[in-house]
Symmetry: C2
Subunit: 550 residues, 2 copies
């Protein structure tokens, strides 16, 4: 064991000693990725209580030194979940681009502060500005090449810590655009209730959170209908734009380019037409769908995104870079210039102090280096191939789900995520019979939800395959109990361009094994519904939910 | 040169190949820290335009592969500024704890999503909860040990991306506490203008930004006076609490524990008394002063912080961990529970889904591992010694400034930062003579500001020593031209517990050399003031400002 209290700071230690320690940290990271630290599982299942008992300790007074630190880090890693494991199919933010990993390691040492250029982050500010320009170009926004940089007022985008914040900032920009007086006098000066129009059932939770945090309140949301494909219904949006409720003014319409449950993509052209017609800010939440911008083959699904006033992109979702990596981009390059504390500096071609136009952020690090590095390393062509390959792999995995005969899909998504319930072919007949009796419908819903949750939980606890688990309305009535029926559903999201055959077979086998255990009892329960007056008890809610439930 | 388009993802590459590449990234980081990549300078000075010309390029279509990526990363590093270099004295967020660096490397590979425990971040959620508990204990808040965890409603703190956001969240919590109706009906439902009371001249820019972003508007700030020591004046705060302007209600008082210009620390006890008396939320912004909590010797300066309703801590400032690392903590452990979308889950002892109580954040990474690792590695004792040693080094560096005879201090800070103007002893007599003639006062202020800015700029551009540069009011009238006089001032902030003798001598020599160049012309200009009717032209503003100006 080494000295129990070695020097704390890099500069106070022998360089070789530091290098050796940091290399061991790197190796530890690689051993996590390879699965060695997780017994070859996606995760070793454990409850919060068990982990609290394992890790809780009084505040450390004395230090433990190098060896114990590495041991603790390995222990933490061994109780972590690998989103980069191809068997993790819940919500895989894989973060496994080698270029992004290398960049992130370098960025840790650089520790640049992107609040300003001088005395702070010279090269980093330029790289981030360059990246924002590239992202604007991918969206199809008007772009001034960085070589013609004329000041922050022409930049039109910013890094944020996540999609949640990108949406917050888009809302703040839309509010400032619609009600310039708010920055001085606040929302109390606004004569009507400003509202955001978005479709119910496909929305992300961040809009409610933002409405509450930004002073609009939940009254600041106005709900349109969703289509059976889990997209915003343009007809419903049109009706509400034409006649909003009295006392309310719609200042933003949200288009969803890949919702977080089924990745349904809105008809952005139709929504853009409507927003243009009614003069309302159009925001596109492309946190999931944004990766399609890199694919020549698939980007057509996002047609119209270039007409959005603001776009939220989330490269830490679906683009192989680690947290935090999100961007809020604006068609009007000066949308963020309105937030500048010193407005004249936003027009200065010699000023590249990003902190002037980044609401909510002051000192912050060089997170943009990751995505910049990935784009340099692979080019848009290379990234496009990754996205195309993932798309093919996703279709292949949907085929796998179908051929198990265990599931019924709640929608047909043609992007990287789908939702389904556990309803094996062997049980389907009994369930359909029960469907036909109106008094049993509630019990059937509960039964399907309960077994779906149980199936997903058992797989999850085994650590071999991880699907997502959340609640979803059956908008297309695929189960047959009406469009208002809500189920616990499983979600599958494919994060990898390739899943090796042996892993794919392992996933199929695990599904079969766990399905077999449950099918007989589910059939018994379904038949019991038909023969007993009282439907069986049992809450439909799962103990363990998944990220998409957020 | 390697294959121009090697596999993008870690899992698609030969493990040894990946390890080799990532080790080179690590070595590159260490070469940046050592100074090798910066020609041994703190920075190699360059303008935004020069760097744009160097880095701007069209969006990459084809990838460049491994070798070119590493070359680019080295190039970026070579044009970055080292905040960890002991000659960087502007605003050093050093980020050079070896434990934090190791943890950050591991965390990049783990890429845990702290939105939830299950299917997301099991160990990471426990570690973050543990760290929040430790931070509460350091502040002196009531603490439930993690072993007695009873649910999120008892946690009382959250990670944030920076001090700016920690302050935003504290304000949001105070608003929700004071006006529970805001979450549903928004600020328009509030009958009076809610205002935040804070002292002018010592405030951080984030309060104005937050007031604007959260819907209060700049009208939502009410300004108290500052003392000559650059702290909030309790008498002024008391007067405004006793009789706020008509139509306004003070819902929060901000206490500053280390302002960003002189690190003056407010009398927190007096402010706490006042807030208690008037029933107003007390927020302490300890983004700078928070590190003193680790020092038995110095933490008395923060007495009363434990009475604050909310505290903002910023470990990426002053605590040797890299960005992003900030925390918002609350005396009432359930202050964040009010933000939960599913309030009943906040009381569930089996739920550790942090995303339920983190407004503004959804998916986010394992940033807490860094500070946790530092605390484990060094213990509070070890960190306390670092803070104490830095304090001693700071005093030593103030002595250095004094003995050069080049500067006049604008305040006496006993913490790690001070502000001063360039006013060499040789020039002082001529300047004092000019002071005595009222018609020359404006010209004298301009002269002092101009030479201070020029001196700071020249040093900065040389890359040998970096001081901060910003505007400051001479509240104690140290220059002698009145308390309303505002100057361009230099700032010195010491980020290191130890500065080796040779480096200290080098700093002193660089000051002497640059001062010598300027002193003669400054003396000529000062004498010219006395002999010419028209004071010399020349804007006082510097081309290049520093982070504290933020």
């Amino acid at each position: 064991m080494s000295d129990p209290q070695p020097p704390a700071l890099l500069s106070h230690r022998p360089p070789d000693d530091s290098r050796a320690l940091l290399r061991r940290a790197l190796d530890l990271g690689l051993d996590f990725t390879s699965g060695e630290l997780r017994d070859g599982l996606v995760l070793r299942h454990v409850t919060p209580r068990e982990l609290i008992d394992r890790f809780a300790e009084p505040i450390p007074i004395a230090g433990t030194g190098d060896e114990q630190l590495l041991k603790s880090l390995a222990e933490i890693a061994s109780w972590s979940i690998s989103q980069a494991d191809p068997r993790y199919l819940a919500f895989p933010d894989t973060g496994d681009s080698i270029a992004a990993l290398a960049a992130d390691i370098v960025a840790t040492f650089l520790n640049q502060n992107l609040i300003a250029f001088d005395r702070s982050a010279p090269a980093a500010s330029v790289i981030e500005a360059q990246l924002i320009t590239w992202l604007r170009e991918l969206i199809g926004y008007p772009v001034t090449p960085l070589t013609d940089y004329q000041g922050l007022a022409g930049l039109g985008g910013m890094w944020t810590s996540g999609g949640n914040m990108s949406n917050h900032i888009a809302i703040a920009a839309a509010l400032t655009h619609t009600y310039p007086e708010v920055r001085e006098h606040g929302l109390r000066a606004v004569p009507e209730q400003p509202v955001i129009l978005l479709a119910s059932g496909v929305e992300h939770f961040s809009y409610l959170a933002a409405a509450q945090a930004l002073g609009l309140g939940s009254d600041g949301l106005l709900w349109a209908a969703a289509t059976a494909d889990f997209t915003s219904d343009p007809a419903s949006v049109a009706r509400l734009l034409a006649s909003p409720p009295p006392g309310k003014r719609i200042f933003m319409v949200v288009g969803v380019a890949g919702n977080c449950r089924t990745t349904g993509i809105d008809d952005l052209q139709q929504l853009a037409d409507l927003c243009e017609q009614f003069g309302v800010w159009f925001h596109v939440d492309a946190c999931h769908g944004g990766s399609l911008l890199f694919s020549e083959k698939l980007k057509g699904q996002l047609a119209g995104i270039e007409r959005a006033d603001s776009v939220a992109l989330d490269p830490h979702k679906g683009l192989f870079v680690s947290y935090p990596s999100s961007y809020a981009l604006f068609r009007d390059p000066n949308a963020l210039g309105r937030f500048a504390r010193y407005p004249d500096r936003a027009d200065d071609p010699d000023c590249l102090d990003l902190g002037l136009i980044t609401p909510f952020y002051g000192s912050r690090g060089f997170e943009s280096l990751k995505l910049w590095a990935l784009m340099k390393h692979q080019g848009t062509d290379g990234i496009g191939r990754l996205v195309d390959d993932r798309h093919a792999t996703y279709q292949q995995m949907v085929d796998l789900l179908e051929r198990t005969g265990c599931f019924r899909m709640l929608g047909t998504s043609d992007f990287y995520r789908c939702a389904f319930v556990f309803l094996p072919d062997e049980v389907a007949h009994a369930v359909e019979e029960a469907y036909s009796r109106p008094e049993l419908r509630e019990a059937v819903r509960t039964l399907v939800s309960r077994y779906t949750a149980t199936f997903a939980d058992r797989l999850y606890r085994s650590g071999t395959v991880v699907f997502d688990l959340f609640a979803l309305q059956d908008l297309a009535d695929r189960i047959g109990l009406g469009t208002d029926a809500k189920y616990q559903v499983m979600g599958m999201c494919v994060g990898h361009p390739h899943i090796p055959d042996d892993i794919e077979h392992g996933i199929e086998q695990a599904i079969h094994d766990h399905a077999q255990e449950l099918t007989a009892t589910m059939l018994t329960d379904a038949r019991a519904l038909l023969t007993t007056a009282a439907p069986p008890d049992g809450a439909a809610a799962a103990d363990v939910t998944g990220p998409a439930g957020w």
